[in-house]
């Protein structure tokens, strides 16, 4: 079922070029396809929704089709049936002219299903073509354009930053729960690319075969080459203003985020097919528009579509009265005919779907009975496609082809718990109703590590839905739960349990009131009391894996083991849970527990002996060795390049990068008053004429040793030479300085004939200021001590001065020299 993007792009392109070439009013009917081929409704009735959401078997597929297609907009039904169906409403058209180009509207009217596979709108102009089609459709186009005014030209230039931002957002925040991904998951994680181990393939997967053999389709996505960034931004920012039934929920996108996604979607289509963005000239003809308005009312458009805010709806006119839903008898005619006649609404139904509708209509009276609470839940989860992200009672959850798009933000190693929205099995027994209402109607933000967002379903009656969840899932209403004990002592004990030291170390993984967790950034516990029912909290803590199989949360009261905290609440797990609850119930006012890491709380003080500390140091590298002296001068040596990369004074370093949390983070070591030696490995191999050898050996770090005073001596090898480098502090009245002592000798068994030099410093201007004394850029003064056989020279090349010690052009066997750095 996989179709390559290239293939589709070529097809669309070819047709679109045809459109431009003929430039006729009707001309070619463009295919603006983005879905899969075939009907928008899958064959398998369990997966009958327009974009193949899961419908639990408790739901009657015929009824769901009648509701989703809004049959009762024409075939009137009594209130109780209408209430039960809660039919999906068509988009508001008040601004439609502004949102789509006339070309697009024209193509759409001619056959919506051709433009957008999966479109719910019936084709009302079935079997009409040629001049007749033009005569009927064109006034409608003018009328629609008059709603909101003529759309602006689609953009053809795009801000690349916006496009990239939109690309990430589109694939990450949850759009691809329902809609097709446009790119492989590698867009979210570039590291997937180089090793080629992306198990989902480089091609986006638009549909997949689910275990029971049916093919799941994706929510239709029209071409965006016929709209504008501004109008698409508005739609994404507030989808319900246009689509009143909330099937497309608000993803809580900011205006900026909406614009980025809009830019990405439009850029993608326009770049693929630049011609599609070129709109034919159009002049709005008020006469045609007026005639279109009459047709709009007569054709039945007004039966389904409203105008939305700030515009009066047009009332339907019924030149051909529709039979009421209860009185429908000829169930194989009209819309339900295998091939609907001209001017009949053609929904492009499959035979299986027609059968399902007929079956329901045969017992249509049973629709007068309200749905049970459980059915209402199933129906809502199905209609809103909650199942795209959530599982409930074994149904739903991200399909395999989409799993890779569900990601964790940052480096949180939380496994599937960190990337997949939580299961909804038993959710009414877990969450407090007020929290459910809040979450469903406004979205949720309690899982900051989860990239996918919980949308805001603003159109749902969330009070009623939350109540139903509670009724179906919970043992009793939340108000009937026995009150949880609270006392200052319980809260204090809970605080102790939450902390490290003498507690259960909840803060090892959880943040509390914004605190930084020591390890994993699991959910902040501050909202526990607001979110969770106390009975669920207790049951969960006593056996987490029972309620969330596979969870990383361990069981803190394993059976067969004595309570680890016998002195807290008499070692009674239930009362210890009371204590945790009491503590967390203080919400924003709770005092943080013991062990919450303090920023920068790991200062290493150098007291007596020098401190050698190996860690990741910013600007030095992953093999850095910091050496601190009590004289308050310190340095960082890179054991990879075997050279000092920074020397500073004052505070030594803070080990929090290595010691806080999981460690392994970079330490910002190089402190105040910093100076840097030559920015290269200082030893150089010379050839007999005194020039640098073409190839210089890589230095090899060999370790370090501590002398009698525990002063470190660094050891490394350069070619045939072994080098000992000892940094030592110099105590001076104003500030400490540094002496560096080098001892170079041949490695055992080596007989070198090469020459050797040492680059002391590089600078813009190096001046000799005394005997063997040099001032580098007015910042550092070097005093050199070296053997008589060696020479110190300032050379100028490559626009810089270089202070170099030459030990001889050949046969250097050993050298001992010292540098004093004063700054």
């Amino acid at each position: 079922m996989k179709r390559t993007r290239t293939g589709r792009a070529m097809m669309t392109g070819a047709v679109a070029l045809g459109l431009v070439a003929t430039a006729g009013l009707i001309g070619a009917w463009t295919t603006f396809d983005r879905g899969e081929g075939g009907s928008f409704i899958a064959d398998d009735l369990r997966h009958f929704e327009p974009f193949d959401v899961i419908a639990p078997s408790s739901l009657d597929p015929g009824e769901r089709l009648i509701a989703e297609l809004n049959c009762i907009a024409c075939h009137a039904a009594p209130k109780e049936i209408a209430d039960r169906l809660d039919s999906k409403q068509a988009p508001n058209l008040g601004q439609v002219g502004r949102r789509y180009s006339p070309d697009y509207l024209r193509a759409w009217l001619a056959d919506p299903h051709k433009v957008k596979h999966g479109a719910m709108m019936p084709n009302l102009l079935t079997d009409i073509d040629g001049p007749m089609l033009s005569r009927m459709a064109e006034p409608l186009v003018h009328f629609l354009v008059s709603l909101g005014g003529l759309a602006a030209q689609t953009e053809t230039e795009f801000d690349e930053t916006e496009v990239n931002r939109g690309r990430i957002l589109y694939h990450q925040v949850g759009c691809v729960g329902c809609h097709a991904p446009l790119e492989s998951p590698a867009v979210l994680n570039p590291t997937l690319k180089p090793t080629g181990d992306d198990p989902y393939g480089a091609e986006p997967v638009l549909s997949e075969t689910i275990p029971d053999g049916a093919t799941r389709h994706v929510a239709p996505l029209g071409s965006f080459a016929h709209t504008t960034i501004q109008t698409l931004t508005e739609l994404l920012h507030d989808p319900v203003a246009v689509r009143p039934s909330g099937r497309m929920p608000s993803m809580n996108l900011s205006e900026d985020e909406s614009r980025a996604i809009a830019t990405y979607l439009i850029a993608t289509d326009v770049r693929k097919d630049p011609a599609a963005a070129v709109q034919a000239p159009f002049t709005l003809d008020p006469t045609k528009a007026a005639s279109g308005e009459r047709m709009y009312a007569q054709l039945g458009c007004a039966n389904c579509h409203r105008m939305g805010p700030n515009r009066t709806d047009i009332l339907p006119q019924r030149p051909m009265p529709f039979t009421g839903l209860l009185d429908l008898k000829k169930l194989d005619q009209g819309c339900l005919a295998p091939r609907p006649e001209a001017m009949t609404a053609n929904y492009n139904l499959t035979e299986a779907q027609r059968q399902a509708i007929r079956a329901t209509l045969r017992t249509v009276k049973s629709l007068s009975k309200p749905l049970t609470d459980a059915q209402t839940i199933d129906r809502t989860l199905s209609a809103m496609n909650c199942y795209a992200c959530h599982q409930r009672d074994g149904e739903g959850g991200p399909i395999n082809a989409r799993r890779a798009y569900f990601m964790t933000v940052g480096e949180a190693e939380l496994g599937d718990e960190g990337r997949f929205p939580p299961p909804l099995t038993g959710v009414g027994g877990k969450l407090r109703t007020a929290w459910m209402i809040e979450t469903i109607s406004k979205g949720a933000k309690v899982r900051p590590y989860m990239a996918t967002r919980m949308p805001a379903f603003t159109t749902l009656n969330t009070e009623s839905l939350a109540a139903k969840f509670e009724k179906v899932d919970a043992p009793c209403p939340v108000e009937d739960l026995p009150p949880m004990a609270f006392s200052a002592q319980l809260a204090a004990d809970g605080r102790r349990l939450a902390g490290t030291g003498q507690g259960m170390s909840c803060i090892n993984c959880h943040s509390i009131r914004g605190s930084k967790p020591i390890g994993e950034p699991a959910m902040d516990l501050v909202s526990t009391h607001e979110r969770l029912r106390s009975d669920w909290f207790r049951e969960y803590l006593l056996d987490p894996a029972k309620l969330r199989p596979g969870t990383r949360m361990p069981n803190h009261w394993p059976p067969d083991q004595a309570n680890p905290f016998p002195d807290v609440q008499d070692g009674d797990p239930n009362r210890q849970i009371d204590a945790l609850w009491a503590y967390l119930s203080q919400g924003e006012f709770l005092a943080l527990p013991e062990g919450v890491p303090e920023e920068g709380g790991y200062e290493i003080l150098v007291r007596d002996e020098p401190v050698v500390f190996r860690t990741f140091i910013k600007g030095v590298g992953a093999r850095a060795i910091a050496i601190g002296f009590k004289e308050q001068v310190h340095l960082a040596f890179d054991a990879e390049q075997c050279r000092i990369k920074g020397i500073w004074r004052g505070a030594f370093l803070n080990a929090s990068g290595a010691w806080a949390g999981r460690g392994g983070n970079t330490t910002d070591a190089i402190g105040a008053d910093a100076v840097t030696p030559a920015d290269e490995f200082p030893f150089k191999l010379l050839i007999p004429n005194g020039d640098l050898a073409m190839t210089q050996p890589e230095p090899q770090f060999r370790g370090y040793r501590l002398d009698d005073q525990r002063q470190p001596i660094l050891e490394y090898q350069f070619g045939d030479w072994l080098i000992d480098e000892q940094p030592l502090p110099i105590v001076r009245p104003s500030a400490p300085d540094l002496r560096r002592i080098f001892d170079v000798h041949l490695a055992p068994g080596k007989v070198s004939s090469s020459g050797l030099a040492f680059v002391v410093a590089n600078g813009q201007k190096i001046e000799m200021t005394g005997r063997d004394q040099f001032n580098v850029d007015g910042k550092v003064v070097y005093d050199l001590r070296y053997p008589d056989t060696a020479v110190a020279k300032v050379l100028n090349f490559q626009d810089a001065d270089h202070l170099v010690l030459f030990f001889g052009n050949t046969n250097v066997r050993q050298a001992h020299f010292e540098l004093e750095m004063t700054w």
């Binding site: 496994g415 490290t500 040793r705």
Partner: protein
């Protein structure tokens, strides 16, 4: 309810085995002796013992309370009411707030906990009598001789406290309660001392507390806990394997990363903070005279340590280092880089583990993948690999495909194993036999197979199955070098994050599990036991619960000279069960043999179970005493795997051997590649004891074609 039943089962087991007898094992600790008072329960014993450390004749009288008096919040703490003038007169009656009559009432308020003072009016929710009020609390403290007690007081809201009529606390505040708001040295006079406290409340919380510290210093307290553990075991496991907690001085953060014994028997411990500590007197029982010597510091997260030929080898993030103490002062003075050829990108997750020596004197090192976007990646050389390095720095790559290989160990036959951690491409933690050219399953480091002189071929992209992911044993049919774990540790039940592998070569000093493997677990603070056998030339076998309830996540283990096991712990960054954030314990066999399944061996038609003690033929020979199910795991990129393709297996028969040490289980429906989970709660020993652990998990990679002879136990 379940809990209660389990606890009584523990009690019964303890009774059967004569728990109290172990107390005689105690030797007198050094330092001050503990004045121990044994009572019927652990808590009573603790209280009675602590009481011995209080000043002579110290007796805290009950708290009395009187109120409410009118008090409009802050600023009125000093407004005087009669009890303040009259002192404690139990029969006096005064006019309180709104003219109600108030008199002193005796309470059952407890010290060391926050007293809830919402006690006035008809019900505690009665705001009039519990808000904007003041009350007085009174108690007497008797003592024989003058003494100084440190007490901790707190209140919500403000309070004023008098000791023998002298103000010792004055806090005119609106505040929440905390136990330590006022820490005061109370100079008690001989005889009766009086404490009067006035506590005001503006709104909501209304509390007072009066607490005093445990009079036992940390060392005496540790001694008390030691004795309590002997007399009142925390778990039935204590009867066979005792945990001795070696006290760690407060200024040492002993987050154990590596551990081995020096030639003189002292444990050397490297820590995550980069220090190496030598533990002197580590073998004491009780362990209170242990002391710590800092051998080295400033190393980069050394997560392994091995001692050989007078030198200490340890792995830092960036290199394998030899530490030498040349002058014999117990402090390292040489830090030689033995090998630093693996890459370090700076990614936090690039941990390095090892070394462990093999029989030929090679050091084995395993290298974690880095984490990029939550998935393991090998962006620098040898990440995800096991390397073999000689003491002079010659490196040979062995095998790749590792994710987070926190533990290496050698079995009795000299073969090398490692444990991995659940995550991407690792369905649950496994124990894996490492052989040259193996691919252990994580493709993150596959590119290094392409380097010259590397054993094995690049296994390529993992086999993904025609319809979604498949179990590892099915993928292995398409990927010849894909190594199947010898043992899977089912997530949750057998730990959640494996750490370290040690083999019992103690010759029986550690109990009946000679030559078996022990694997630590960081999250669940426990140790699992593993029995391995070779079927079709490959290792496979079973894991069993062994010991749980350590103080913190188990990260390293090593054998003491006496055949006890040192257990090093840490949980920073990866939460664990237990009471402490790090520490060192020693696990000592008590000499009693637990009734356990010693070995579980695969047979063509089921399994042979070998027990540590003769079984009761009645229960052990009853097929209904056993249940078995089997399941396996997905081999796929997402984190971990659910247990898939679950199947309940029928036990067709259970045949007890003539010596009653073995049972042959006939099982219907064995499946290769599946974990076979055995539960045998009904089996008892010849003297009626239940199994200490009735679960076993056999990873059946291969079903033997012919019956496997049982080795003599």
């Amino acid at each position: 309810m379940v809990r209660t039943m389990k606890q009584s089962a523990i009690a019964l087991t303890m009774l059967l085995l004569g728990a109290a007898a172990t107390a005689s094992a105690m030797q007198q600790p050094l330092g001050p002796k503990l004045d121990y008072v044994k009572k019927a329960t652990r808590e009573e014993t603790r209280k009675a013992t602590i009481a011995k450390y209080l000043p002579a004749g110290l007796d805290y009288g009950p708290w009395w309370i009187i109120g409410p008096f009118e008090n409009a919040g802050s600023g009125e703490l000093d407004r005087i009411y009669p009890p303040e003038q009259d002192g404690f007169k139990p029969d006096a009656v005064y006019k309180g707030k709104r003219g109600v009559e108030v008199k002193w009432e005796k309470t059952d308020f407890l010290d060391n906990s926050a007293m809830d003072l919402h006690v006035f009016g008809a019900n505690p929710a009665d705001d009039v009598f519990n808000e904007d009020v003041a009350c007085y609390l009174y108690r007497e403290i008797r003592i024989d001789e003058p003494a100084t007690l440190k007490v901790r007081m707190g209140s919500d809201d403000g309070m004023k406290v008098w000791h023998n009529g002298r103000v010792i606390v004055h806090a005119d505040e609106l505040r929440g309660w905390d136990a330590d708001q006022h820490v005061v040295d109370l100079h008690l006079e001989a005889g009766v001392n009086t404490i009067l406290a006035k506590v005001i409340n503006h709104q909501v919380g209304y509390n007072f507390s009066f607490g005093y510290d445990n009079p036992l210093d940390p060392m005496l307290d540790a001694k008390l806990e030691y004795q309590l553990d002997l007399d009142f075991p925390r778990s039935p496991e204590d009867l066979y394997y005792r945990m001795l907690t070696i006290p760690v001085p407060q200024d040492i953060v002993l987050e154990v990363g590596g551990m081995d014994l020096l030639e003189d028997g002292r444990p050397a411990i490297s820590t995550r903070r980069g220090e190496v500590w030598l533990v002197n007197n580590a073998y004491g029982d009780p362990p209170f005279d242990a002391t710590f010597t800092r051998f080295a510091s400033g190393l980069h997260e050394p997560l392994g340590l091995a001692v050989r030929d007078g030198a200490m080898y340890l792995v830092q993030r960036s290199e394998l280092t030899r530490l030498v103490d040349e002058d014999g002062d117990d402090r390292a003075d040489r830090f030689d880089t033995v090998y630093n050829g693996w890459g370090v990108s700076g990614n936090y997750h690039e941990f390095a583990f090892g070394p462990k020596f093999d029989r030929d004197g090679n050091m084995w090192v395993t290298l974690n993948l880095g984490f990029c976007g939550g998935l393991g990646k090998s962006i620098v050389p040898w990440r995800g690999w096991a390397l073999k390095i000689t003491t002079d720095g010659q490196m040979t790559p062995v095998c790749g495909g590792m994710r987070s290989p926190n533990g290496i160990g050698m079995n009795a036959a000299g073969d090398m194993f490692y444990v991995d951690n659940q995550g991407d491409w690792v369905g649950t933690c496994p124990l894996v036999h490492m052989e040259p050219g193996d691919f252990c399953g994580h493709p993150g480091g596959n590119q290094w197979y392409d380097l010259p002189d590397v054993p094995g071929d690049n296994p390529g992209k993992p086999y993904a199955g025609p319809n979604g992911p498949v179990p590892k044993h099915e993928a292995a049919r398409k990927m010849p070098s894909l190594k199947l774990p010898a043992v899977w540790f089912p997530y949750g039940r057998m730990g959640q994050s494996s750490a370290d592998v040690v083999c019992d070569m103690t010759g029986g000093s550690f109990g009946p599990f000679g030559e078996q493997i022990f694997v630590g677990d960081q999250t669940t603070a426990s140790i699992a036991r593993v029995y391995l056998e070779k079927v079709d030339g490959k290792y496979q076998g079973a894991c069993f619960p062994f010991r749980s309830g350590f103080d913190c996540g188990v990260n390293r283990m090593c054998w003491g000279t006496d055949g006890s096991m040192f257990v090093g712990m840490t949980n920073r960054g990866w939460g664990s069960l237990g009471r402490k954030p790090y520490g060192l314990q020693r696990l000592v066999w008590t000499g009693k043999t637990p009734f356990e399944i010693l070995e579980m061996k695969a047979q063509p038609d089921g399994f042979d179970l070998v027990f540590t003690e003769p079984v009761d033929p009645q229960t052990a020979g009853n097929a209904a005493s056993y249940t078995m199910k089997s399941f396996t795991y997905f081999y796929h990129e997402p984190y971990g795997s659910p247990e898939i393709r679950n199947q309940q297996l029928a036990i067709l028969g259970a045949v007890v051997s003539p010596d009653r040490m073995r049972v042959h289980l006939l099982v219907n429906g064995l499946r290769e590649g599946f974990v076979h989970e055995l539960s045998a709660p009904g089996v008892t020993s010849a003297n009626g004891a239940p199994l200490l652990h009735s679960e076993a998990y056999y990873t059946l990679n291969h079903i033997p074609d012919t019956p496997v002879a049982s080795a003599a136990p």
